[in-house]
């Protein structure tokens, strides 16, 4: 009954796609990291995504130091305020209607975009995993309650909700991040829960229980490491969503007024009506948003194999 295991120790697949000489298993944190790096290096799309993201992160960290001007300061020349000037030697991306340097705005804005995405992603990962784990492993009433909350979260449309929430409370970055997180943990929680449910039934988990291991021990040693790939996958999705949500919210005018974000730049440009006139104002922030989302997306694609086993070829 069932399949026979080969005694010669050769891990061979019987599916078309043939033999992979690398074994697709995570061994330890160090192995995990080096394996992920290798995986990224092998996939050209993921690699370009990773590089892009790295550049953006570096931009976010160091950019503002290199900003030629204060993004809030109107710029003057001898003739007067440099309103809506196209790109020039002094102002590489030109200026906006308030004579502020656009390049500087872009650089400062990158901090918001990248920083907020990472924050949102981390919170999504953390909360989603926590809920998924608890729900999946303990089941029963806890599971029922948490899943009903998750269902409710699914019903809410993302951007309008964020907009409304922010409008009702103070428009601040924190609120935006909070609102985004509140929505996006739903997918990761669901998926983590599913994964936990199936892991719970695997013989090695049962064997652990038979040894007398506590739930916490089993979750820590056996369940959590196995759900991490899923979690990172959904974190990436969360980042994408977060970036777009923030940009949209700022664009709609609900953004934090004290901060310079890319969405804000777009909102202002639209409000002034400068879109057809000042392409240098509109295109850079739009492009940057797209690049950030794209880089995360490309990276994420590399993880689809892990998350969707049907895409895996030739694995035992």
């Amino acid at each position: 009954m069932g399949s026979q295991l080969s005694e010669s120790g050769i891990v061979r697949s019987s599916k078309p796609g043939g033999v992979r000489s690398s074994v697709v298993r995570i061994r330890s944190t160090k192995d995990f990291i080096s394996r992920e790096i290798k995986r990224i290096r092998q996939d050209p799309l993921a690699l370009s995504g990773a590089i892009m993201l790295l550049i953006l992160v570096l931009l976010a960290i160091f950019g503002p130091f290199f900003a030629p001007y204060d993004p809030w300061e109107p710029q003057y020349s001898e003739t007067g305020a440099l309103r809506l000037t196209p790109p020039s030697a002094q102002h590489w991306l030109g200026t906006d209607s308030n004579a502020r340097d656009i390049l500087s705005q872009l650089l400062y804005g990158s901090r918001i975009a990248v920083g907020m995405s990472i924050l949102a992603a981390s919170m999504i990962v953390f909360i989603g995993t926590l809920i998924g784990l608890t729900s999946g492993y303990f089941g029963g009433a806890i599971d029922a309650i948490l899943m009903r909350i998750t269902d409710a979260a699914f019903v809410i449309p993302s951007i309008p909700f964020v907009a409304v929430l922010v409008a009702l409370t103070r428009p601040s970055l924190f609120n935006i991040v909070f609102a985004i997180t509140f929505l996006y943990w739903r997918s990761s929680a669901r998926v983590v829960r599913g994964q936990v449910l199936s892991l719970k039934e695997r013989p090695f988990v049962k064997a652990s229980r038979a040894s007398g291991a506590s739930s916490f021990y089993i979750i820590r040693k056996h369940i959590l490491p196995n759900v991490l790939p899923f979690v990172t996958f959904y974190a990436a999705i969360g980042v994408q969503g977060a970036v777009i949500a923030e940009a949209s919210v700022s664009f709609l005018g609900f953004g934090d007024p004290g901060l310079m974000s890319w969405g804000k730049m777009l909102q202002y440009a639209f409000a002034i009506g400068a879109t057809r006139v000042a392409w240098w104002w509109v295109i850079p922030p739009g492009t940057m948003i797209s690049l950030l989302v794209l880089s995360v997306y490309l990276l994420r694609r590399g993880y689809e194999e892990v998350v969707n086993p049907r895409l895996i070829r030739g694995q035992r």
């Binding site: 009954m1 069932g2 399949s3 026979q4 295991l5 080969s6 005694e7 010669s8 120790g9 050769i10 061979r12 697949s13 019987s14 599916k15 078309p16 796609g17 043939g18 033999v19 992979r20 000489s21 030739g314």
Partner: protein
Amino acid sequence: MSILSVDSISVEYQTLSDAVRAVQGVSLNLKEAQILGLAGESGCGKSTLAKAILRLLPETGIVVSGKINFKGKDLLRLSTSEFRELRWQILAYIPQNALNSLDPVYRVGDQVVEAILAHERVSRNAALDRARQLFSNVHLDERSLRAYPHQLSGGMRQRVLIAMAMALDPPIVIIDEPTTALDVVTQAQVLSELISMRNRTSSGMLYISHDLGAIRQLCNDVAVMYAGLIIETGNVGDIYGEPLHPYTMGLLNSVPKSRGAKRLVSIPGAPPNLRSEIQGCAFHPRCPFRDTRCVKETPKLYEISQTRSVACHYHHKAKNFRILAEDPNIWQMPEPREAVMSDFKEDIVP
């Protein structure tokens, strides 16, 4: 009369780093109305050989040498389209997992009819009649014709596959472990279907399995495979009653014969790594009767008679070996025992 002749086939699985020699220079002959059992444990190459014949090897599987002859044609040299045409008509295949082979969205009767119509110029009604007959041959109710695969039990699905395979009355049927996913009683039922099929048709069948009991019950002749090689052939009575190769002896003795676990023979060690070139006899590291010749010289398949062959230098000592092989302690010896060898420089058994 030989209908399929496999001539020195070697198959390798090629990965980025190395090559696995799954089948090494295997030759066999399948005759009309013969059921040839291909016996062996996992990794011995039997499934690979079957897939090579059916040209169903995965991308990494390559036939590096040899021919597969059917009526004078080398099946491996045919183009894909030529082979496809020929396949269902001459070479039927009953695979392991019935669920994967039946299209879930079509009724099983329709699938059989379509298979017939694709290869023969008959009317739909004639095809349907034949489907009915085929189903009744495998003791499936006519009503089953209208069922979808998921509505049938595992045993019934397997019988559908048998019916489908026989639809065009193929001269060669290759059966690959058809009973793995079934419960014991159903396994026995499927086996008896195959037996009645054997009695009814004149097709030659290649039955691949690790289930020695099933092979014994179903097959006329047996070829035993080990590490990609055929190490013994013969008819069922000879192989199970008077095996010539130590591996066959060990294998048969490891299956329970009587009450008591202590009498069971356990062959120590494991099959050789097929990634590297094998020196000498493939089985020698685990063989209690080996000596220096076995370590250095690869035994060829010695032909004892028309039907009997064995790849062992000392096959003439088989009678003695058989007696010794029943003792589990013999098999625990890691080094070749000089004493054992000298025990039968002369024949002990009268």
